[in-house]
Symmetry: C2
Subunit: 311 residues, 2 copies
């Protein structure tokens, strides 16, 4: 009668979310689990994070690793790099944690805000961008409630509108975006990460600039703010940010050496299918479908042989 | 250049998730925000929680309120009530917190498990149930990646298959389900709540038995377990459960008196539309669509005049 807690609900899925492929799905019915596919992966199935496009958000509890997406938001990413180089975020704080929504960091001192470097200005909205033929796009086969097409490009979850010829990053768990007020322009001084069910109504309303690839639990388990829309109230201490640094600015010994699954590989097509129709014995009903924000994107330490599969 | 953190990213959406309507959407283009609609709501738009179908999960940090769904899982709900009446859960613990997935509670003592009451046995799978004509169903207009139809019944997010004539609860944020091992039967001694992006691949694989209507943040902000699939490791203390009680077993003064929006009301149709196409000035792009797990289900204190709108 007592089911074993170690066995019960062994269903896994994303500690680190995202990543997908669909092209050859019909031709590749899954017989293997995600764990088996990862165990059989080769070096060619992984790519290292580019230190020039990787941020470390350092908290007392540890390091949050963010991969930037300059191909989708070049102006904001340039701003954020300038801010990081100037040490702008060091000593600022997480000021808002709204349950099932976002963690947001900014300058908590509204009266005497920290100056920004002279090369950082509000830049034009980067809510979507023209679809480029050379951008890889691994399309998911099961559609989407919000967009005509969804899939993955360079490891990021994206949507496309073929009529408008536009592509945009979508708000899955762990995506990082730029806070703004009612003006569509923004600078990048306030950033947020999604910590709940994908708030897809934000798509095309903010510049998404990257994705947390490791350390999400350091953000998602923070105490929720009791103020309006999750801002920390006066009696609640904001969570200090020790520093945000660019990986390439640190000596190699201080970097996190991570690799991410390639989303334009045949292996990824198999991973998708292993998630659309879970081969694990626990699954009595096979979903037969998958939604873009439910696709795990495995991450591993560089030169690791195996990887712990996500949920 | 500095956007005001209090203004930036004012996008709101569900502290408490779920709830919807679609019938008259085409006839009721939204001009009002969710906040305005709630402010104009009347008593008839709300229903009190039934104390016979309401659980209180008591933690040191506060109370988590769960509404049971006996109409969808009568056997498991009966079991859970027997367990609660016998004090089965009192002094047990939260044993698993997997980021972006589930919080799970059970008997942490595997070697000498607590006895269960004699009337509690493993019961048949309650993964879906025949669609009943009398069950209200407020269908969402924008479809779903996983199921032929989605919407809300009695305040719960559901999917339907008209060909199979089946209805089932779906795994949105805050839904509560019954852990099981590979056997499709289960008793209800191990329960979990969804704390991340909706793991819809679990639909029709477990008996969902209810939904957290208040206190989700007490679960979602718990430290993640470092063991396999989020179980607390030996060096991590499980989170003690003081008690789980049925509201009707407590004197009125000790109950939480909550009301939930009615999901079969004309107001709810307007709420959905106010979320499909957000009228707030901040939203430059109107999504024009909504997904079942992105629909907020407002909750308020009984006899409250106003309610703080969710995100």
């Amino acid at each position: 009668m007592h089911s074993n807690p170690k066995l019960a609900l062994i269903l896994s899925l994303g500690v680190f979310l995202s990543g997908v492929a669909a092209r050859a799905i019909a031709a590749a019915p899954a017989a293997h689990t995600l764990a088996e596919l990862l165990a059989a992966s080769t070096e060619r199935d992984w790519r290292p994070l580019d230190p020039e496009q990787t941020l470390y958000l350092e908290l007392a509890s540890g390091r949050v690793v963010i991969e930037l997406a300059p191909q989708f938001a070049p102006l904001h990413v340039a701003n954020i790099k300038s801010l990081v180089h100037a040490g702008y975020f060091n000593g600022l704080a997480i000021v808002r944690v709204q349950d099932n929504y976002v963690v947001q960091w900014a300058d908590p001192n509204e009266k005497e805000p920290r100056p920004v470097p002279p090369d950082v200005h509000d830049v034009a909205a980067e809510f979507d961008s023209p679809t480029r033929a050379q951008t890889p796009f691994t399309r998911l086969p099961d559609g989407d409630v919000y967009a005509p097409m969804v899939g993955f490009s360079d490891g990021f979850p994206v949507a496309r509108d073929p009529k408008l010829k536009l592509t945009w990053l979508v708000h899955c768990y762990g995506m990082v975006g730029v806070g703004r007020d009612n003006d569509p322009q923004s600078s990048g001084t306030e950033l947020y990460a999604v910590i709940g069910h994908a708030p897809r109504h934000l798509d095309r309303n903010v510049a998404l600039v990257g994705r947390v690839v490791k350390g999400m639990e350091l953000l998602s388990s923070l105490p929720r703010g009791s103020g309006e829309i999750g801002f920390y109230a006066k009696n609640e201490a904001p969570v200090p940010i020790r520093a945000i640094t660019l990986a390439s600015d640190l000596p190699a010994a201080e970097r996190s050496h991570l690799e991410i699954i390639r989303t334009d590989s045949p292996l990824f097509t198999q991973l998708i299918e292993a998630r659309r129709n879970r081969p694990e014995a626990w699954f009595l009903h096979k979903a037969g479908h998958i939604e873009v924000c439910n696709v795990p994107l495995p991450v591993r330490e560089q030169n690791a042989v195996a990887v712990q599969p996500p949920r």
